[in-house]
Amino acid sequence: MSIDADKRSAQLNRLLAEKDARIRQHRDRPLPGWLASRRNRRIVALTPVLPLIAGFYAGTLPDGVARSALMAAVAVLSVAGILLLRTATRLLDSAPDRLLDEREISERNLAYRLAHGLVVVLISLLALMAIADGLVRKAGSGSLVDGDGWISITITAVLVGAMIPAAVLAWRHTEPLGGTED
């Protein structure tokens, strides 16, 4: 029994070490040339705006193929956006604390704090839309969001909310002069 537990523990430690090595290798790579300039990184940081607009617009469409197609595009954009943002920030938003030093942890903490504010704004926007939709329905003049539109809008908010910390990090990310050269 104890030998099994030891084996499992050793296997777990090995897997963890392999995962850490992969993340470290990824983080040590220099940023791609096109992400070297701060302007380009800031453009990448604005990526979440695209799925946000598309997803909210999809929510206002009637139930049908158009909405489904737009939501599929939102999902693809969001996944691509998260991957892009992680590249731009050298996985800073997702790397475990044990692989980061004090500067990186404080940078990430600050980004999370700012991202929290932005997520609150996003949720407030959803709340305002819900209130406006309710008022329009009560007035009997149709609705802002048809059928299952709220599902699309909520999914969009979740996807965009997941991108915001990495986007804030990409917006604020700076490279020391001379990069990582000696």
């Binding site: 030093d101 004090e102 500067r103 020391p176 001379g178 990069g179 990582t180 000696d182």
Partner: protein, 81 residues
């Protein structure tokens, strides 16, 4: 916070990555420290000083350091150039 890290590194022929590995931080963090864009924690500052085997005031300062040449070759009146 001002520091003499670039001078000390050059003097000892140590690369950023070697220093980073020795004090347990990312190579980029040494770059940020040298540029003055990041103030280290007390623990990191002490680790850096211990590695260079120098007192804290020789490596870090709240006021800008006088140029090394002025300290090595003071004017005849004894004042820094």
């Amino acid at each position: 916070m001002h520091n003499r890290l670039p001078v000390l590194r050059a003097e000892r022929g140590v690369s950023r990555s070697d220093l980073a590995a020795a004090v347990g931080v990312n190579t980029q963090t040494i770059g940020f420290l040298e540029r003055g864009d990041y103030g280290p924690s007390l623990e990191l500052a002490l680790r850096i000083c211990a590695w260079f085997d120098l007192p804290v005031e020789a490596v870090f300062s709240l006021t800008p350091f006088a140029p090394m040449s002025a300290q090595l070759y003071p004017t005849k009146t004894g004042e820094p150039r």
